[in-house]
């Protein structure tokens, strides 16, 4: 059951006490305030930008954007897909690796899950923001009304509502349940009353009793079991929003797996970015070791290659179908007005990625940081390309029309990024960002496996 590995997952120096000390120290006695405050300040500006953009949007309507006929969706939807994609790696890492008992996840899962939750929140906002009449968004929810009209359950968009909603709830629960033991741990180390009460309430009176642990285990595993299929269903649903239409470049069966893989790929890239940044910022090299990065890099490579296969097959499908319009769109992606997006995606997603074949690269934080950033941008380009190239030239040449996002579309995007970081900064400030007890589990395993002296 234990992963017996020639190499320890954490630095030799690490023992139970040090783990708790190091991790709990972050919320209780915040080590690096300056950097945090700067970052937090910037993210607050982002939040402000978001609020302004959203207000103006509601006041004047989606007309302030660059969308038109035929480009009815534009940035709003491609950003939605991008954000929801980001929200996949977290759950996948924790849930999947938990279920198959890959201990190394324990250093990463906490903030990966946080990332998931915050990203899904951004994604959840977009479909509402992009509505023509956002104040009527609740019509998307089935409830007994005086019109006796229900949502249209054949619509992929309707299913997205459920999928994203469920996914958000489950990820939040999964994340929170995972936090409880650590919250208790921090509570017990807290000296100041306010922290004691704060963490005390969040810990829901966790007393570390065996029965607690036993119930917790069951609950946590059930949630993991729930979360995993959702990862697949959510993004498949998102993919159906496109595949469901007849638009050339959308109407293909490969879309669901293609989208899910792309999403996980993107997610891992962001996890890389975050873990590297955090371990640097809070000097957690002994908890998030190069070996973790190596693992992540391998996963990134794997999913990247699968996504690349999706690209290839999409192209092949278009060609093989013999459908004039499909071929036209393919050609248009390669050489049309938005070819920059296509080739940008190829370069940033797959060309750069190949560096991960090399062990040295996989263990160099700097290199991985660069690759992670490249993929994050690359996947955004891909989402933009998929949404735009299908719409701006579909069937009748008479309705061809280019799409140029306006300031307000960009500002809203920037705003959501701001909100994301705002939440994330609060998270690292207030909560144990690495799972202490789960690392201890690893230590235990390794001790039992004889890779290190039994921790005292």
């Amino acid at each position: 059951m234990a992963t017996v590995h020639p190499e320890s997952l954490t630095a030799p120096s690490v023992d139970y006490r040090s783990v708790t000390r190091d991790v709990a120290a972050v919320p209780l006695a915040f080590p690096s305030p300056r950097a945090w405050w700067i970052g937090f300040g910037i993210s607050c500006v982002g939040v402000l930008i978001f609020l302004v953009s959203a207000f103006w949007l509601f006041y004047r309507g989606v007309g302030i954007w660059g969308i038109n006929n035929p480009d009815f969706w534009g940035l709003a939807i491609s950003n939605y897909v991008w954000w929801i994609g980001m929200g996949h790696a977290g759950t996948l890492i924790s849930a999947l690796l938990l279920l198959i008992n890959k201990g190394w996840r324990n250093s990463l899962n906490r903030f990966a899950e946080a990332m998931t939750v915050f990203a899904v929140i951004q994604a959840g906002m977009y479909p509402i923001l992009h509505l023509g009449r956002p104040w009527l968004f609740y019509w998307l929810i089935p409830y007994p009304n005086t019109m006796t009209v229900w949502p249209q359950f054949k619509s992929p968009l309707e299913w997205d509502v459920f999928a994203v909603g469920t996914y958000l709830i489950v990820s939040v629960l999964f994340w929170y349940v995972g936090l409880i033991p650590d919250l208790a741990g921090v509570r017990d180390r807290a000296k100041r009353r306010v922290w004691q009460v704060f963490f005390g309430l969040l810990a829901l009176g966790w007393r570390n009793s065996a029965i607690h642990w036993q119930r917790w285990q069951v609950c946590y595993w059930i949630l993991a079991g729930l979360a995993l299929p959702l990862v697949i269903s959510v993004h498949s649903g998102v993919a159906m929003l496109f595949a469901g239409g007849l638009e050339p470049g959308w109407h293909t069966t490969i879309y669901p797996p293609y989208f899910v893989l792309g999403a996980v790929f993107e997610g891992f890239a962001v996890v890389l970015l975050i873990s590297i940044t955090l371990r640097h910022a809070f000097r957690l090299h002994h908890l998030v070791t190069d070996r973790h990065l190596d693992m992540l890099a391998k996963l990134l490579l794997a999913f990247g290659l699968m996504t690349a296969y999706g690209y290839l097959f999409e192209g092949f499908g278009a060609w093989y179908s013999g459908d004039l319009y499909e071929r036209q769109t393919l050609q248009d992606r390669l050489s049309g007005d938005y070819a920059w997006a296509y080739w940008g995606a190829i370069a940033l997603n797959f060309v750069v990625l190949q560096a991960c074949w090399f062990r040295a690269v996989r263990r160099s934080a700097a290199a991985l940081l660069a690759i992670g950033a490249a993929v994050t941008v690359g996947m955004w380009l891909e989402r933009f390309m998929l949404v735009t190239t299908a719409l701006y030239r579909d069937f009748l040449p008479s309705s061809y029309q280019a799409y140029v996002p306006t300031f307000w579309e960009w500002s809203l995007f920037l705003g959501t990024i701001g909100v994301f970081f705002f939440l994330f900064f609060l998270f690292v400030r207030l909560l144990p960002m690495i799972s202490m007890f789960e690392i201890k589990e690893v230590l235990q395993e390794e001790a039992r496996g004889g890779h290190r002296a039994a921790p005292s």
Binding site: T146, M147, R187, Q196, G200, L201, G205
Partner: protein, 218 residues
């Protein structure tokens, strides 16, 4: 180390959590109730009119037919409001100096129309046609209630879309022989059920198509 929380803390926490849950459910129920309440539907709300016109007196006690004033109800979408002239056909003879009727006389003199407050006011995106309902045997009573007993006219039904659909989906129980449409004292026969179905067949009413959106919305 001192305890942070009292022994009862867990209980409080549970109560609070459950309470929150109940609160959410309660609010939803409240909202649901509110939109169906007379307060928001306006059922029974009596609005002041420029002239204290009593339907009970005119339609009830005097037994004036609806169509005497609402004269386009059988031919047009709108039942029509009576022009000042229609009022004066009688009131040039009776109650000629009644204070209450001053606005009517003024209207006639100045040519300025009377300004009634609408009681049954459907949204602008609903296209209700009186003539076809009357022709198909839907009585005034069905939607307007017992007008001959109303002193000040008021809304008797919610006018919710669901209320419209109830009848559009199951018209039979709401139908009468055309001659009984304006009769507020009509009593359904014993075989009301069968009669309804007969009428549906006779009038060529297609309940299966009557809930299509374009029947009312355009």
């Amino acid at each position: 180390m001192a305890q942070i929380f009292s022994r009862a803390a867990d209980t409080y926490l549970r109560v609070v959590l459950i309470g929150l849950g109940l609160l959410v459910v309660g609010l939803l129920l409240l909202a649901g109730g509110l939109v169906r309440s007379d307060y928001l539907t306006g059922v029974g709300k009596q609005i002041d009119q420029p002239v204290p016109f009593s339907h009970r007196h005119h339609a009830g006690q005097l037994g004036i037919d609806c169509r005497y004033c609402h004269d386009t109800v059988e031919v047009a979408a709108s039942a029509g409001y009576p022009p000042t002239y229609t009022c004066m056909t009688c009131h040039s003879q009776v109650w000629t100096n009644a204070e209450a009727l001053a606005p009517v006389r003024r209207s006639l003199a100045t040519g300025a129309p009377l300004r009634w407050n609408r009681v049954h006011d459907l949204p602008d995106f609903v296209y209700f046609n009186h003539s076809i309902h009357v022709q198909q045997g839907v009585a005034c009573l069905e939607c307007h209630g017992r007008v001959p007993e109303m002193v000040r006219i008021y809304q008797a039904e919610t006018l919710h879309m669901s209320w419209c659909l109830d009848c559009h989906r199951h018209p039979a129980p709401h139908l009468r022989p055309p001659e009984a449409v304006f009769d507020f004292d009509w009593r359904p026969p014993k075989d009301a059920e069968a009669l309804g179905l007969r009428l549906v067949a006779a009038q060529g009413i297609e309940p299966e198509n009557l809930d299509s959106c374009y029947v009312c919305h355009r």
